[in-house]
Amino acid sequence: MAEAAVAGGELKRPGGEDVTPVESHHFDIALDGEESLAPRVPILVDAVGKEPQKLPIIPVQLQTWQGAKRWAATTSYRMAYRAGAHAVRTPWYLVAGTWWALWALLLLIGRQIRWWWLIEQHALRQEAANSNDPFTYEKLLKTARAVRLFRGWVLLAELVALLVAGVLLYALAPRWVVALVVACVLPFLAHYGRPNDKPIVSPAIVVPRHRRLNPDIVERAYYRAGIGKADKPDERIEFASRMTEDNTGTGTQVVIDVPHGTAFSEVLKAREKLASGLDVAMSQVYLTVDKTSNRRHLLWVAYVDPLSIPAGRTPLLDCKPRCVWRAAPFGVDERSRRVMLPLMWHSILIGAQPRKGKTFSGRALGLFAALDPYTRLSVFDGKGSPNWRKFALVAHTYGFGLLPDRVQGDPIQNLLATLRAAKTDVMRRNARLSELPTSICPEGKLTRDIARDRRYDMPVWMIILDEFQEYLNTGDTEVDEEIAELLVFLVKVGPSVGVILVSLTQKPSGLGSTGKTAKRFTDYRDNHLTRFALKTGSWQVSDAVLGSGAYSEGYDSSALPVGDGSDGGYDYRGIGILYDSPIGNATVRTYLADDRDAELILLAARKHRERAGTLDGMAAGAEVAQQARDPLADAIDAFRSDETFLSWETLAARLGEQQPDRYAQATGDALSKTLRGLKLGIESKAGAEKGGGEARPRGVYLANLRRALEQRASKGDR
């Protein structure tokens, strides 16, 4: 129902008063009250939401001490270099300068004559003659004559003054004053006289190509890469900041706005083309999206390929005690900033091809934990390589390889025992932490004080598994399943109560075949929180390590450079992509800690633990698991020094005496069956025992047993 009716061409309110028509009032019914139809006085409001961006007072290069030093060094070097170059060229400068100075004198004389004769008025007079205007002509001529007269006097005075000064200078002043005057005047004349394209002083330093990043090159690179179009005005690349050197002094950075509608993921995909357009290597180009807008990102181009510079030895070599609650020094990123990886509450998966630095980087984390005397460490190495063996000095539990041996017992049993204990411990910790008062345990989480306190028995526990897929493929399905189940439980629940899992694998794609364990494997792998992928074979493997979706964000570890330096190229081992870590994503060059460094650090770590009194577990000599029987070794030990043959009965009896808990019930036949069942070439033969007289019972020769042991050792230690 219309409230405002049009009456006689004007809008009138029902009361009859005029209403000023509101432009947007196109409803029949007034939606607001009557007051709102009155014309409003505009009120000024502050623009909210966007903070004005303050440019740094101190330039970016000088903000850090490192940057300032580098700047000072480069600048002073450049100045000294220039001074030297110019000093050598000074004679040429003199010759050229004199030549152009003479020419400048002629130019000046010509100029002054033109000034004197008021040459510019000639056109006006001609114009007057063209239009047959004698009066104007007359006026102009009169003016010109007067001006010429005056200017002539001025020039005359100048000439006289110059002559007098010159003569006096030459006659009275000493030679060096004359020379000084000439030297002062000559550069000005030479500068005036020389043509613009023939400089006298040529630059001494020409900046080389790969450093010169200027806006034209960047624009061209973007347009060629398919981002933005140069010819359309609203699809151009814009620069949101000036091009500066970044504060580490290792590259140039600029903030770029892509045209509206272009996503940052497209820019990432074009990174290779950008690198080609900028004429640098792909690993020199880094793109970081801006937090405020997806349209804006930071382009950083390094001067040299950052991945070719090794990160150096690990700072853990100072062997000082560390604290696992702090971040571990992991490596340096592409800008040579330190990457400190916090370990608490996290699980880390490291995956790569063999020989690419995976074990070394995982071991670096283990060394860090080892240096904290209050951290419990469990190390299990599926392939039994020598890299981890020294951890026996500090590890609470450890297992190397899959086969049992004298020193460690049965590694699989150790692993099972450890994992079972860890599971019980996790559940106990959860219960216990929830019981503690909030003064000791705020937020129900493990704190450093609780972890270090013996009464609670809740130390931070780091479990390292190298090539854990071997433990899921031991050959005994039950054991595999149990290990898999425990691992999945631990990776899900462990980190929140202080159990840190570090898993390394070279087969991150999974076990493939059998269902349940394979599913558990992928479950275990995907539940790790932090991922670190060194060079992998393909992007699918990279995605398996980093998590699916990493490739579409631009993180592809198969694109990492390859090379171990042996052929004269760079050593690219130890470079990996850190993904989804608590400090974000980065390309990291890990610190190096080789076997000797590891030994040094572990010896020091052991000392710290002895001092703190936390050396326990297998490092202190305890046996952790119920050791599986090693009948071969026991049988060898049962031989006395002068015996070469023992019958099965005697052997069984002796073993029963020596190790009653294991062999009390053993019979000769059972022993014979067990030993021959090891398939190591042990044969039951008839022979004569010492002190047995003429009887030749069936038994076994010591040499045979020893050979079998060697055979097993050579098979076991790969």
Binding site: R125, Q126, A129, N130, S131, N132, P134, F135, Y137, E138
Partner: protein, 80 residues
């Protein structure tokens, strides 16, 4: 007359014309026919005078050569 005589006289004529043109360029004005450059006509006793009716008091006249030149120059300007 022989061809040489023709050439020489043509050359001389051209030179003269050139010099005359140059002279007209540099000195576009000459003395007025009427007042002989003074710009005024005096009474016999010299006390009273009036401006020359021909040159409007300027005493100058545009030289003939300059007039020709101006004419052709204007044609050219208008044509372009």
């Amino acid at each position: 007359m022989t061809a040489l005589a023709w050439l020489v006289s043509a050359g001389v004529a051209a030179l003269v014309a050139l010099l005359y043109a140059g002279s007209c360029w540099w000195f576009p004005f000459a003395a007025c026919w009427c007042c002989s450059g003074g710009g005024r006509h005096h009474r016999k006793d010299g006390r009273v005078f009036k401006d020359c009716w021909w040159c409007a008091g300027s005493g100058r006249r545009l030289r003939i050569g300059r007039k020709v030149w101006n004419h052709f120059s204007r044609l050219r300007k208008e044509a372009s």
